[in-house]
């Protein structure tokens, strides 16, 4: 809207202080930063006017075929990224065919499940970065999800956790790793606030990650060279923070080139370490060197490069630059496109979501949900399995206090996000075992001596703020000792065995043994808890339309459904028994028509005072009736209780009572507390006053209801009863319980039986 008042009243300054706007201003979403699109700074999501036109020229020379032009640049203009993609990244046998195809035709193939996945993969292998970005940009968010569902490499989705704490406390790392694998995470990732602590974190994570459920892979994300050294000694089993960037400037600022990354990639494989690279949009913008290109195009370069390097997978779609991406229009869509491009290049997708995208719960949920629904090899490349403050990476998009929300979301949608509910008893057992295992190994290897009180504190700690900081040098000294002794995975295994942790020793040895077979180096590989490899090779995505592809087994379905908050109807009504018989109802006679003009009948539902004793607001039915009766009496009326046996409908109960009542006014009351005032000559659904939100009612309101019924009986005007409204989700909080109570009413109802006058006794 423009500022033209268009004949409306002139602005009054005071009118601009809008109450509703003040509420909006205070909402968390308005703590987020939003940027106006600006290609000069790279602040543009899907397409920049400066993105190159897709192009590819291949020349046949004496040394074979080679790329002489890539996305508008001749070979002599190639930067190191172009150079590496031109050398290794493209399938030149298919490139001519693929590059000649219409963008829209290619985009349609990505979502058309009648086109085999392998055919899409074959063609995409011949697409340049600019071409793939254009194709993906044509898709709507829903189409992207469809494409992800069918294009991800592994059939079975999985999930990865961050396990860190501010103290680098090894016992806590181990306990949290054990919790993480209990929840179902198949990769756990740690890092350090203090670099020198890294070897200790790696050892603690390795041990903790094999407690209870074996086979999860573990990594310690630190400076590239030190990380590789820990991996070479077998103390980690995968790596993923091998960073790629979409422009040469930022790449070199990051102290690497595609060629050094290629050696790093091969170095990891040479020691049996699974490895993926990290990219993720926004980094180039943050580093001030986006070369005016769109975030999507630069990320497409990264993904092409990842494939060229021979990395089996990519972590992207919401990494460190996520705030930049989310600040521009189409930002969240771009993040989803990043994941999709990885899948289209036939690589493992570790789908980001590992950086808190927004202060708003609505926005951060909106970021993760499409990935959860579509499925990815890893839904999160780091779900914060620890409290926000303990996350030494950055806050994740979901953190330990979001675990119940995530488990409920899996159940709501019937989708597999890789996680499951864990009973508190199990958590207590595995946390204690993990903490004591690390305590024992650190003592055995002479690294550190943590006392039993520390173990006790760690087992129950939410995070490091619940722990005494302890000796600040202990962890650093343990890490130094690990380095000084050059401890290897074999030393850790031997120590676990010596100290009686046979299961963990066996698990880590099995992990080491399997690693030397190399099957876990293939695309999208994870180990299940029996050390079987699930990968693109052994568990390929076979989605070919509805009814195909990954489906929950009955066992997995039950696991997802069984959240700890679910209750049976019996459990939801168990508290009724506690109030059984607090008042008694004795039948007097089949109800007759009253004649006293001061009489107001109170119609009771079938189960009230028979199987339902407690209303939803927490008042007993006896107290509710006492208040209503008192209200009637205060206004000079006489209550009569009538059991309406044939219906559970509160409108009909009230109308029945009104028809029997001498005054022609009646009150209907259900056991759960819903109440209304009725008059004998009204239609069943047209009552005089209704208390429909039973959970919000109070004793005072029931008394006012009685008074108003009496006023109606006397022909006086009632006094409005204001409940004040509520911000609570009444439906979400109470409907499960209401359904259980209604079932009791239904069970107690006696169709065809006439109303009965009853007397209440205490």
């Amino acid at each position: 809207m423009d500022d033209d008042s268009g004949g409306l009243a002139e602005d009054r300054t005071a009118d601009l202080d809008q109450g509703r706007m003040r509420i909006l201003d205070a909402k968390p979403v308005n703590l987020d930063g939003f940027s106006v699109t600006n290609p000069d700074l790279g602040l543009v999501a899907m397409h920049s006017p400066f993105d190159p036109e897709p192009s590819l020229r291949i020349s046949d020379g004496p040394e074979g075929r080679r790329v002489v032009e890539l996305d508008g640049k001749g070979a002599d203009q190639f930067d190191v990224i172009d150079e590496f993609i031109a050398l290794y990244g493209l399938d030149l046998d298919v490139a001519e065919e693929a590059m000649a195809m219409d963008d829209q035709a290619l985009a349609r193939m990505t979502v058309d499940f009648n086109v085999p996945r392998s055919e899409v993969v074959r063609l995409v292998a011949g697409l340049t970065p600019a071409k793939l970005a254009r194709v993906v940009a044509l898709l709507s968010p829903v189409e992207m999800q469809m494409a992800m569902t069918r294009m991800r490499a592994r059939r079975t989705p999985s999930n990865q956790a961050h396990v860190t704490n501010q103290l680098d406390d090894p016992l806590l790392i181990a306990a949290d790793a054990a919790s993480a694998v209990a929840y179902g995470f198949r990769e756990v990732e740690t890092t350090v606030p203090v670099l020198g602590d890294a070897p200790s974190n790696a050892v603690a994570l390795l041990i903790g990650s094999q407690v209870g459920v074996p086979g999860a892979m573990a990594q310690c994300s630190i400076e590239e060279a030190l990380e590789l050294r820990l991996g070479l000694r077998g103390l980690t089993s995968y790596a993923e923070t091998i960073s790629l960037y979409g422009t040469e400037q930022v790449f070199v600022d990051g102290d690497d080139t595609p060629f050094s990354k290629a050696i790093l990639t091969s170095a990891y494989a040479s020691r049996g370490l699974k490895m993926r690279v990290t990219s993720g949009g926004g980094a180039e913008v943050l580093m001030g060197a986006a070369e005016k290109c769109s975030i999507l195009y630069l990320e497409s370069r990264c993904v092409s490069l990842a494939r060229a390097l021979g990395s089996q997978g990519v972590q992207n779609g919401g990494i460190d630059g996520v705030g930049v991406v989310a600040s521009v229009p189409d930002g969240m869509k771009e993040l989803l496109a990043e994941n999709l491009m990885v899948m289209l290049r036939d690589l493992e997708s570790c789908a980001g979501n590992d950086n808190l995208i927004s202060e708003s719960d609505v926005r951060r949920s909106a970021h993760t949900l499409p990935v959860l629904l579509a499925g990815a090899d890893f839904i999160f490349s780091g779900f914060g399995s620890i409290p926000r403050y303990d996350n030494a990476f950055a806050l994740s998009n979901f953190n330990s206090d979001d675990m119940d929300d995530f488990l409920v979301l899996q159940r709501d949608w019937g989708v597999d996000g890789g996680l499951r509910t864990v009973p508190v008893e199990h958590l207590a057992r595995v946390r204690r075992r993990a903490a004591t295992a690390v305590q024992a190994v650190y003592r055995d290897l002479g690294l550190a001596d943590f006392d039993d009180e520390r173990v006790d504190a760690v087992v129950v700690a939410n995070g490091s703020r619940d722990l005494d900081p302890g000796d600040p040098k202990a962890v650093a000294e343990a890490a130094t000792a690990i380095e000084a002794k050059q401890l290897t995975v074999f030393d850790v295994i031997a120590s676990l065995k010596r100290t009686g942790y046979d299961a963990e020793a066996d698990a880590i040895m099995a992990l080491t043994r399997e690693r030397l077979r190399g099957d876990q180096l293939q695309t999208s590989a994870i180990f299940d808890d029996e050390f079987r490899v699930l990968s693109k090779i052994t568990d390929p995505n076979d989605y070919r339309g509805p009814g195909t592809g990954y489906a929950l087994t009955a066992e997995r379905r039950a696991e997802i459904d069984a959240i700890r908050q679910a209750r049976t109807a019996e459990e939801l009504t168990a508290d009724q028994a506690e109030h059984h018989g607090h008042v008694g109802f004795d039948d007097v006679e089949i109800a007759r028509q009253g004649s006293d003009p001061r009489e107001v009948c109170i119609g009771l539902s079938p189960a009230l005072g028979r199987s339902v004793w407690l209303s939803l607001c927490g008042l007993t039915v006896g107290e509710v009736l006492r208040q209503i009766s008192a209200g009637l009496e205060e206004e000079g009326c006489v209550p009569r209780l009538v059991r309406v046996r044939s219906t559970i409908d509160v409108g009909m109960i009230g109308l029945t009572a009104a028809r029997l009542s001498g005054s022609g006014i009646g009150i209907g009351l259900q056991g759960k507390g819903t109440a209304l005032i009725h008059r004998r000559n009204l239609a069943p659904l047209a009552n005089l006053e209704l208390f429909s939100v039973a959970p919000l009612l109070t004793d005072r309101m029931y008394r006012e209801l009685g008074k108003n019924a009496a006023r109606h009986a006397k022909g006086m005007a009632p006094i409005p009863i204001f409940t004040g409204g509520t911000d609570e989700s009444i439906s979400a909080r109470y409907h499960a319980r209401a359904v259980a109570l209604v079932a009791l009413e239904r069970e107690a109802s006696e169709p065809g039986q006439p109303p009965m006058t009853v007397r209440m006794s205490r």
Partner: protein, 111 residues
């Protein structure tokens, strides 16, 4: 050593060492075939480079990585590295170094 030789008892007895963590080049060559058949020749190429590095000591692997980082090496140093890799039978890694040297010279990334 075969994977079956990797037992907890062997670790306790001190019969396993760092060198045992290197992959058997034949295993990596096999994985390269699997990757190639799976339609990912780049992954296969990586495994073949890895097969070469599996025979190289940790420190030399670290040295190779360091030499390829930007502004670390002169053209002569990269050429010497290439020759030494070639001599050791690491032809693919040698070729990568040759390609890097050419690109670094053009892009000003040599020392």
């Amino acid at each position: 050593m075969k994977p079956e030789d990797f037992t907890v008892d062997a670790a306790v007895d001190g019969n396993l060492s760092l060198a045992d963590l290197r992959m058997d080049p034949a295993t990596l060559a096999h994985q390269a075939v699997v990757a190639e058949e799976g339609g990912n020749p780049q992954l296969a190429e990586n495994f073949l480079r890895a097969a070469e590095l599996a025979l190289v000591d940790d420190e030399d692997v670290m040295g190779l990585y360091e030499a390829l980082r930007p502004h670390r090496s002169t053209a002569e140093e990269l050429e010497a590295l290439r020759v030494s890799l070639e001599t050791r039978g690491a032809a693919r890694c040698a070729e990568l170094v040759r390609q890097a040297a050419a690109a670094y010279a053009r892009r000003g990334l040599l020392r």
